[in-house]
């Protein structure tokens, strides 16, 4: 028997003839190495690979891919005869190969990963998995690894065709490599998105809705990535080296941090609520936020005045991130299980800095607020730096003070509305046990009502005629921000809003002191012994 042994040995333990097939020592050694390798990789990957190699979906997709690649090689080459010998013909061939490869990589594999995780939930096998030693994160990463392996197989299968296209001249090697890298990164990111959506819905209707959402995202991404890639093949790369470098770095970093956030979120959905599901997600959000801000800073210093597009995109995406993430943090349950309390920070410094990472709505609001303030301050700093370097205020406002006022207003409103979401969730939680996603609905409700109610009251008091802005409209974030953009908002109003929000945040923290300063409890000796024993 080889060192690791194989499952066929267990299955055929009473059939010694089955071992006689392994005729040479080399094969035994190879078998041993493979078994040892198999013991170290994620069990989900082993199982999914076994399943995939026998599944109709993989066999059909792989066969179709090979057939399509072969057909295009023959048909494409013949259609370009005899010019193929004299003129560069790689572009046309590469477009065909790209389409053949992109469909399984950007559509079939992510959808299969979605179905695989959803199937585990539907068939009840996820419960069987969740009582094994596999963590939810390992389950999600196993699915991702399995999808990556399939992508790699498709990639390898089509590699000779791409090499053939390259030999026909007309596309340079960096473009081909950029194309393949884009496809791989897009495929992995889309698989991660699909895995994030898989455990999201519980009901049948919800499942259908998430499936439709995933399909929509995949089709749109396929269209967008195909558009960019085909333009790149046909018209070449119009960007400067600096922009290409920036885009490559930015794509990789954002894909990695977003992927980490999404896999953590998918794993959190599979984790029982007695465990700490929040800290990893908070760190992932902060990581993504820091990455985006870092990229914006990199853009300001390296891309010239074109970088204001990056600055604007970074601002909008971080605003969306913290609106969604902050709303969900504010909607977390305030109950803290003994299991979580065992892992709380205990030293003075750790409690000062790490308490905001512990689960709970109040710590969540404070954590989100800190991140929003960091975002605001950094954004203001980058805008100032941009103006200092290029002599113009970025993103359109007429003066730096106006831009600063807008940044302060946006951050203040976001924090203020998070406090309101927390208040709403306190009421909702009296007789219910809602999911954290309800926080987003609460955020939509309070932000719409916050703008609509004072505006409607003002309209009524003014006999439904237009009326000028007044401080009574301070909860109306749309009108107030619009006033700031016009440069007609007084500093006093901004201070008033910031003051109210500060008091609200402080009140929120003080009203939940026991959530903010939770006491750590000891881990029982028996558990310590068990953990030490591994």
């Amino acid at each position: 028997m080889s060192g690791g042994g194989s499952i066929s040995e267990a299955a055929g333990a009473n059939h010694p003839a089955s071992r006689a097939d392994k005729s040479t020592e080399f094969w035994l050694w190879l078998d041993d190495v493979c078994e040892r390798f198999g013991d170290r990789v994620n069990p989900i990957l082993v199982k999914e690979t076994r399943q995939a190699l026998k599944s109709r979906q993989f066999v059909v997709t792989f066969s179709l891919l090979l057939f399509a690649a072969l057909a295009w090689t023959v048909a494409g080459s013949l259609s370009m005869m005899p010019q193929i010998y004299t003129t560069p013909s790689a572009q046309r061939m590469l477009v065909g190969y790209y389409i053949v490869l992109a469909i399984p990589m950007l559509l079939v594999v992510p959808l299969a990963a979605y179905r695989s995780l959803e199937g585990e939930i539907d068939d009840g096998t996820l419960e069987l998995l969740s009582i094994t030693f596999l963590s939810p994160k390992q389950i999600v990463l196993g699915k991702l690894a399995s999808a990556s392996l399939q992508m790699l197989l498709y990639f390898i299968a089509l590699f000779p065709c791409v090499a053939y296209a390259y030999t026909l001249r007309g596309v340079d090697l960096p473009t081909v490599m950029l194309l393949m890298a884009c496809l791989l990164v897009a495929g992995l990111l889309l698989t991660t998105i699909a895995l994030f959506f898989a455990p999201l819905a519980v009901s049948r209707t919800g499942r259908i809705a998430t499936l439709l959402a995933v399909l929509l995202i995949l089709v749109m991404a396929e269209y967008a990535v195909a558009g960019l890639s085909i333009s790149l093949i046909l018209y070449g790369n119009p960007l400067t080296t600096q922009w290409v470098s920036f885009l490559v770095v930015a794509t990789l970093l954002v894909a990695m941090t977003t992927g980490y956030l999404l896999t953590s979120a998918a794993a959190a959905q599979l984790t029982p609520e007695s465990e700490n599901r929040s800290t990893t997600l908070r760190l992932a959000c902060s990581g993504l936020s820091a990455t985006v801000l870092g990229l914006a800073a990199f853009a300001v210093w390296s891309l010239g005045d074109d970088s204001q597009a990056v600055l604007g995109l970074a601002g909008v995406s971080l605003l969306m991130l913290w609106t969604l993430a902050g709303s969900m943090m504010a909607a977390e349950s305030g109950a803290m299980t003994p299991r979580i309390r065992r892992e709380l920070p205990s030293s003075f410094l750790a409690r000062m800095f790490l308490t905001w990472l512990t689960p709970g709505p109040t710590t969540g609001i404070v954590f989100a607020s800190i991140n929003v303030i960091v975002f605001g301050v950094t954004f203001d700093f980058l805008a100032t730096e941009f103006r200092r370097q290029y002599g113009v205020v970025p993103l359109g406002p007429r003066s730096p003070d106006v831009l600063r006022q807008i940044i302060v207003l946006v951050c203040t409103y976001l924090i203020g509305y998070l406090v309101l979401v927390r208040c709403v969730m306190v009421v909702v939680r009296i007789n219910n046990h809602p999911r954290v996603e309800i926080g987003i609905a609460a955020m939509v409700a309070v932000s719409v009502l916050g703008a609509l109610v004072p505006y409607s009251v003002g309209m009524h008091l003014n006999d439904y005629r237009s009326y000028p802005y007044s401080p009574w409209q301070i909860t109306n974030w749309m009108w107030t921000t619009n006033q700031a953009v016009d440069g007609s908002l007084s500093g006093l109003t901004v201070s008033l809003i910031a003051g109210f929000v500060g008091i609200g945040l402080l009140g929120c923290v003080l009203a939940a002191g026991h959530h903010v300063l939770p006491g750590r409890i000891a881990t029982p000796d028996k558990v310590k012994q068990e953990l030490a024993r591994g």
Binding site: M1, G3, G4, G5, S6, I7, S8, E9, A10, A11, G12, A13, N14, E35, R36, D39, P43, V46, K47, R50, Q51, K54, S55, D123, G124, T125, E127, L128, L129, S130, I131, T132, F133, L134, P272, E273, S274, E275, S333, A335, M336, T337, P338, R339, R341, R342, H433, R435, I521, A522, P524, K526, V527, E530, L531
Partner: protein, 326 residues
């Protein structure tokens, strides 16, 4: 998982011999009390039958014990470890066989078991040895290479038991393992469960087939509408419920006279004469029963046989669950 978590004080069950402990377990689904204040213990190496009608709360409490659900209040312990606070340590000791069989497409039996062995952290020779043992114990070696889809219900149940056993757990939780099995498969399952108990494993098993449970269980718990009505051995529960026992005497020649005599005894009721047999209900302890028989013999009645009728688990179940919880 939408249980409203109520933080519990940390506590570990005191008895070293109790392998499973449910302590004031509650589980609410909205207004529905699926499990309400259920507490019991199961000693190490015992087979405990969990009995109750459909929707009584058996599966819910077993799922909590298997770390698949969380209690709304209370806690459950396996080997002194809380299922709420230390689920990963509990899982090392626990094998769970649910009432539904979760299958994977395009996987054969040995691949299925191999996957779960890997998921339980078994590697190399240990994994192969364990797979071999499980295939042998559950009698699934002959179908190791068969796809799971083509298996009969009985074979699937064996495979599911094998999956629950793959990491050699100390505690087995079996939810309706005999449901839908033919008599031969049920007998074999019963043999396997008894075998597991003999190997020192603690088994918590639920079933609707009470005769099966009566033969394999050391003790039972009867649950109805989320509340535990009785626990203990069948005899204990019977004694808890009633002090009456049914006796039959075979009396030669003078059975009618003996029946008349018995009707005069205060602790005797429902006397029925059937040829040489006299059946009656007797309220009293075993010593009182012996005195009564001795008295009858002393009075010249030729008693050839004394039979005490033990109530079946079905009788006990019907007696205990009959309208006790509204």
């Amino acid at each position: 998982m939408n249980a409203a978590i109520v933080p519990q004080p940390i506590g570990y069950h005191s008895g070293d011999d109790d392998c499973i402990e449910l302590r004031r377990l509650h589980r609410f689904f909205g207004e529905t009390k699926a499990v309400y204040d259920v507490s019991f213990t199961v000693p190490r190496g015992h087979v405990f039958g969990y009995i109750g009608p459909n929707g009584a709360g058996k599966t819910t409490s077993m799922r909590i014990l298997a770390t698949l659900d969380l209690p709304s209040y209370g806690d459950a312990f396996v080997d002194g470890l809380s299922v709420v606070n230390d689920p990963e340590l509990v899982r090392k000791r626990l094998g769970y066989m649910p009432d539904s069989f979760g299958t994977y497409r395009d996987v054969n039996c040995v691949e299925y078991l191999d996957f779960f062995a890997r998921a339980y952290g078994l590697v190399g020779r240990e994994r192969i040895a364990r797979l071999d043992w499980v295939l042998g114990f559950t009698g699934t070696r002959g179908m190791a290479e068969k796809p799971i889809r083509g298996l009969s219900k009985g074979m699937k149940q064996r495979l599911c038991l094998g999956r629950a056993l793959i990491h050699d757990p100390a505690v087995m939780i079996l939810d309706e393992p005999a449901a839908g099995l033919d008599p031969r498969a049920r007998i074999e399952l019963r043999r396997m469960i008894r075998d597991l108990a003999d190997r020192g494993k603690t088994v918590l098993i639920s079933s609707h087939i009470l005769t099966e449970l009566a033969e394999m269980c050391d003790s039972v718990g009867i649950i109805e509408q989320g509340q535990l009505l009785a626990t203990g051995s069948v005899d204990d529960i019977q004694r808890q419920q009633s002090h009456q026992r049914e006796l039959t005497l075979r009396i030669l020649d003078t059975a009618a006279g003996a029946a008349k005599r018995l009707e005069t005894v205060e602790s005797v009721s429902n006397v029925i004469l059937d040829g040489e047999l006299v059946r009656f209900a007797f309220a009293g302890e075993l010593r009182d029963q012996a005195s009564l028989v001795a008295q009858l013999v002393g009075e010249g009645f030729a008693i050839a046989e004394v039979t005490s009728h033990k109530k079946s688990l079905e009788d006990v179940f019907l007696q205990v669950t009959e309208g006790l919880v509204q």
